[in-house]
Amino acid sequence: MAGSTLASPSAEPVVVAAKTSAAVSPGRETWRRFRRHRLAMASSVVLALLVLGVVIGPWLWPIAINEIDFSAQLQTPSWAHPFGTDDLGQDILARMIYGGRISLAVGLAAMVVATFVGVVVGAVAGMSRRYADSFLMWVTDLFLSLPQLPLLLLVIYLFREQLKAAFGVEGGVFVLIVIVIGGLRWMPVARLVRAQFMSLREKEFVEAARAQGATRFRQMVHHILPNALGPVIVAATIEVSSAIIAESTLSFLGLGFPPDIPTWGRLLFDAKDHLDSAPHWALFPGAAIFLTVLSINFIGDGLRDALDPRRVI
């Protein structure tokens, strides 16, 4: 083997990579850097606990979410009702476990929609040098300047029945809300991705790929996109938290889930009139939203620092 190696005077005398540790992939490296971000790590644990809580919660706390008990109205936390009860005597913990699934799922799914649309639009705009770019940016600006409230009304009214027929009651509303929130929040992602593409497509490694005969699609998917994902991931984590808050605003407008589905946003909204007498009612869903948003934001922060090699951690 050694004999076949070119015993050339051109061979570089310094042996490769003094750090002889096993090959470190960018993913591993990111993880290593991420772990150093203490707040982000703590947040990951908190978020994992929250997710775990809403997933296995119903087995640990098997109380019906809509069990009305007028004798137990607005009770403060106790052993029977660890998070207290609301004004119909329903158990807030059980409702939060149930609603949390939806809130978290909406947050994640809306993020996926917004990010996907944003990445596609941004990538196409960023790759095209002519009319497609102008047109897509025009559409982006258009969406940015459209007032969202009437649009929400329209979309929900136009598509609710069809989606309900296709996906069932909760499924339909879920799909609708995810589309509505995601569909109206992709613009910043698109702009971000476009800017990234604009700068990356001029990079030499993309030119190198082009010189090797890579098609446009290959350049996009294999070379540009992976390198543009860092900031997108960060934007996406922020998207999750805005979607959770947006869902609560939709509940506020009455456009969200049916009122008997206790998403965290709706719990908070229902609790607001009882803030002075039953603060626990608002406290727990409020804290849940807050913790989720906070931890997701910190995770996003940690990811940004971890993905940006310029940053010294």
Binding site: S4, T5, L6, S8, P9, S10, A11, E12, P13, V14, V16, A17, K19, A23, V24, S25, P26, K203, E204, F205, E207, A208, A209, R210, A211, Q212, G213, A214, T215, R218, H222, H223, P226, N227, P309, V312
Partner: protein
Amino acid sequence: MTTPPILSVSNLTTSFRVEGLWKPVVRNVSFDIAPKETLAVVGESGSGKSVTALSIMRLTPSGNSRIEGSIKLSGQELLTLPDADMRKIRGNDIAMIFQEPMTSLNPVLTIGFQIAEALILHRNLSRSAAEAETIRLLEKVRIPAAKSRFHEYPHRFSGGMRQRVMIAMALACKPKLLIADEPTTALDVTIQAQILELIKLLQEEEGMSVLFITHDMGVVAEIADRTVVMYNGEAVETGATEDIFARAHHPYTRSLLSAVPKLGSMTGRRRPMRFPVVDRLTGESDVPTETPDTVEASERPVIEVSNLTTRFEIRSGLLGKVQGRVHAVENVSFSVQAGETLALVGESGCGKSTTGRSVMRLIEPLAGSVLLDGVDVLKLNQHDLREQRKRMQMIFQDPFASLNPRMNVGAAIAEPLLINKLATRSEARDKVAELLRRVGLQPDMASRFPHEFSGGQRQRICIARALAVEPRLIVADESVSALDVSVKAQVINLMLELQARMKLAYLFISHDMAVVERVSHRVAVMYLGEIVEIGPREAIFGNPQHPYTKRLLAAVPIADPTRRHEKNPVSNDEIKSPVRAADYIPPIRQYREVSPGHAVMIWGEEWEKPAVQGIAA
């Protein structure tokens, strides 16, 4: 040394905190600088030379760095000085200029303000006095129309002019010591020569000492009285510059010097020559040989470029009307034989890179033809072009930017094979191993990622990637310019070897005349998008005809301190821009054949200015 030194550095150790551990970057470095002396600190990237400079100024990031040892300025210890007193030293007693003139000036403040700031701070001048003094300084650094440029912003200045502004700023308070951290590295050769001249001149006028940090042995030979060679954070050799060049003791110094291409060292040789390789530990050197004759002169050239023209339109105004054009490549013709290296030389903006990219059709040229083995590349549709591209490959300037950071090396090398369906996945794997071996890397490195490799290794990877499709032509666009000298030599050796083995044709694009002299068979000199002179290498270097070629050659620093005074002052001209008005019609050029294969453009009066006269032939 009878006079006490201006600056005395002893046992300087600077450490940075990395992941909680203190890692020394500079170890036990000691040197003195006498009044009016120029001391060069030379070393390759990562040798700790810039950190040494920053340590003297105490500008290393606070909290994450630690400076130990002693730094005395005129006998005063700087390391123990309170911050407020240290600030009085900075800019006043010690001034500093940096490598990147493009980023070292604050873009939102006028240059006048930035210079006057130091004057007001340290010399307590009034605003108007500071302004007058600033204009005087600008004149001193030979900035034309200094008065009117006081209120301009940095972006209106070219790189060379900005570096002059930086120098003016540094001189503002008549410092005892000027630290120049790679001040000419980012500049073109002619501009570099101007700046070096200026520093020398000002040093004499102001009587200051200069600490000159550089990686370029040519610059060292040009400017330094004494030299400190740094390697891996340590000063391995200190001495008078002549001594170091003539009788280097340390093996590293010897390896460094042997790797430096010296302009004129190829006189009398027809073919390119490898660099000698010196063992860094023993200093033993082999004797380089001329490469075998690789040029297949009898065959049809691999590539024939004729009348290639590439322009970029500058649009603005209400309807996006074309206001002007960049005539990046104008009516360029040349051909390259198999096994031959044609060097395209010129300064930034001359169109050499655009020519390379136009040949590759990475940029769509406006007119002309590019025949690759008889097929006109410019007439191919996208699909056929992709087919054709495997016959010509490109190696880029920046090995850090030309590899996808998220793709491992094996995948990067295999990609052209897979794209062009030249191999199955398993075949590709074997091919990658072979290619890695061929460029002097281990096959098991295929699973690693680019950031784990050094610059030279990455460039080898790029070469391996280019070789994967077994091309006929390789366009090497400044492929070795960003590398350290010793690495540069190795990569060039590799390229020469591969040429010999594979009969590759190289289009070698470079601004570095010394390297070009070493590697090329033929040379084309480009100026403002046009070839002003083309011919065999000996002819161009030995018998340059066009004034521009002459100027270019005169500006190259010679890595030999004994030849320092052979050169005459260079002009203050800036590099001209190829931007023309929309209605500009390029003149039809005539060429004169000096000797067989050596053609020179017939030049007009604009080249007959006095400034150009007197250039050493």
